[in-house]
């Protein structure tokens, strides 16, 4: 079964690579064939050359952005889950908190970024806060939905074994919620990188968003694309890592 899954995911990966290569080839042909200027679409090879040339500064920016994303992501996940558990354990809080959370979550979080920059400065802290806010709401809502999925009869059964509220939470509700929690976590990976980059564009000392913004001012579009590609790579790796954890530890929900 594991071998089967491995060949399956290996096939998926090889298809993904083939698709990317195809896009790169078409891109290269268009850019060179139509002789497009760099501010419209630089060729893939020139972007790759640019990446090699700027490697040190790109890696430094990537480290910056990745740190902000991961830290904000981790904080956001913890806050989101803790809040969801709290609200589930105190039913009266739920009717107050849930509509509020849904309302706040319906506005794109980046709308709050000028305020957050004002409050937390233009260093890493403001980006971490923004990412944490964005992630925590998603995780909060998916954890609530997951905890609600618990079967009344299962709760009765485990109560008949003498389980109190905490035991029901730990042995039944949380594992039941896990598939939805981790699905929310998987979606949030990409969201966290996006929010970090957008906030960097509005004011930062470093990071890929800052690099992109500076490169646009300097009319260096090869660098813009190089930073975009690095950002995509971070997002993809992050997404892949959480997907791997999901497949490994939430094996029962897919079978």
């Amino acid at each position: 079964m594991t071998a089967f899954m491995q060949t399956d995911s290996a096939r998926q990966i090889s298809r993904g690579i083939a698709g990317a290569l195809l896009v790169a080839a078409v891109w290269e042909i268009c850019a060179r064939g139509l002789n497009l200027p760099a501010y419209i679409l630089p060729s893939v090879t020139s972007i790759l050359a640019g990446m090699v040339g700027d490697l040190a500064s790109l890696l430094e920016a990537a480290r910056f952005t990745a740190t902000e994303s991961f830290a904000g992501y981790a904080i956001g996940c913890l806050i989101g889950m803790a809040a969801a558990i709290l609200v589930t354990m105190i039913p009266s809080a739920r009717s107050i908190v849930l509509p509020l959370a849904t309302a706040i979550n319906s506005v794109p979080v980046v709308a709050y970024s000028p305020l957050v920059l004002l409050w937390f400065g233009i260093g890493m802290a403001s980006k971490i806060v923004m990412v944490a806010v964005a992630v925590s709401f998603t995780i909060f809502l998916s954890t609530i939905a997951g905890l609600d999925r618990v079967d009344r009869k299962s709760v009765d059964l485990i109560r008949s074994f003498g389980a109190g509220r905490l035991a029901v939470l730990w042995r039944l509700r949380l594992p039941t919620a896990l598939p939805l929690i981790i699905a929310g976590m998987r979606v949030s990976t990409v969201r966290s990188v996006i929010v970090a980059i957008v906030t960097e564009m509005l004011g930062a000392y470093g990071g890929l968003g800052w690099v992109i913004y500076q490169a646009v001012l300097q009319i260096d579009f090869v660098k813009v694309w190089a930073a975009i590609i690095v950002a995509s790579a971070i997002s993809l790796a992050f997404f892949g890592a959480i997907s791997f954890v999901e497949r490994r530890y939430v094996f029962w929900s897919k079978a």
Binding site: D156, I158, S160, F161, W252, S253, A255
Partner: protein, 311 residues
């Protein structure tokens, strides 16, 4: 309606094995039909002789909104007994079990004695090993960890609980399956894991709510014989709900027939068939006679409810 009753008698004549599950379904009164006028006909064979009962219910009623699920139910179970309960669905059997498991409080004015001590239902939480209709195995736990769920909640260290459960696997036909997950098991095996979980939670009273209801007829027969073996080895007191009259007689020391809603005990029938019981006992004259009595009680009940409804 009369046609339904006729069909019932035919079914009845076809013998013990044929469609006993379907029988009860035929008897099931439609929802909303009043059946309250059935006079209380309690054939009380009170167990005053064989020591004090393990659990005793008197005047137990339960109302959900406007629906009376149970009315003046009287049940008493002696230690070591295997008592089966039959009755149409919606007769309050599951409500009775929920009360005995401590999950539901009966209406005020009841008497509930556990080992002779007056109790409220919630006192029974954690005192009774309860197996609901569905196996409710946790999909993220393998066979052994599902089996030890109740022990873990009691606070037993995992290692010790697993050791106990491993020793029990062969008896439950699960040797070698300890590391499998529920979605890899057949229905019969899942049910055995659920039963093992119930057995490992060592309590005086075991409540089994139609544990074999969802299994095919062949598997069900095997599981019944197997359950009798296990019960005889472990000497537990068991209350067993079923739809199946054959199953009720084959397993039980006594069979309680419940009326349609509001549920109460209509007939209490002792089963004097010798143990250990072989599979072919279902064709013995004694078995057939018992079955006839029980089916008549159930049929009488349903005819009365038809008349009440104006048919």
């Amino acid at each position: 309606m009369m046609e339904r009753a006729m069909a019932l008698t035919e079914e009845h004549l076809r013998g013990p094995a044929a469609g006993a599950m379907g029988l009860i379904d035929l008897l099931k009164p439609s929802k909303g039909r009043a059946v309250a006028q059935v006079p209380a006909k309690l054939e009380t064979a009170e167990p005053t002789d064989a020591g004090k009962p393990l659990i005793e219910l008197r005047n137990v009623s339960k109302t959900f909104g406007t629906v009376k699920a149970l009315q003046d139910l009287e049940v008493s179970i002696r230690p070591g007994e295997l008592v089966t309960v039959v009755g149409p669905s919606g007769c309050g059997k599951s409500t009775l079990f929920n009360i005995l498991a401590g999950l539901e409080e009966p209406d005020p004015g009841n008497v509930l004695r556990h080992k002779g001590i007056s109790s409220v239902a919630s006192d029974l939480l954690g005192k009774v090993s309860f197996m609901p209709q569905r196996d409710l195995l946790l999909p993220w736990r393998n066979v052994i960890d599902n089996a030890i769920l109740a022990l873990e909640i009691e606070g037993m260290p995992r290692g010790e609980a697993r050791k106990q459960a491993m020793a029990m696997l062969p008896e439950f036909g699960l040797a070698g399956f300890e590391a499998q997950y529920p979605n890899q098991l057949s229905g019969g095996m899942r049910q055995r894991v659920a039963l093992m979980r119930t057995f490992l939670f060592k309590r005086d009273l075991m409540l089994l709510d139609e544990p074999f209801g969802a299994l095919d007829a062949l598997t069900r027969t095997m599981m019944q014989r197997w359950l009798l073996d296990v019960w005889q080895n472990h000497k537990r007191t068991v209350l067993f709900i079923t739809h199946d009259v054959d199953e009720a007689i084959f397993l039980g020391d006594r069979v309680l027939v419940m009326t349609a809603r509001p549920g109460r005990v209509k007939l209490e029938q002792a089963v004097d068939l010798p143990r250990p019981r072989k599979a072919d006992i279902v064709t013995s004259p004694e078995f057939i006679a018992l079955k006839k009595t029980l089916l008549e009680a159930i049929e009488e009940e349903s005819m009365k409810s038809f008349q009440v409804a104006g048919y």
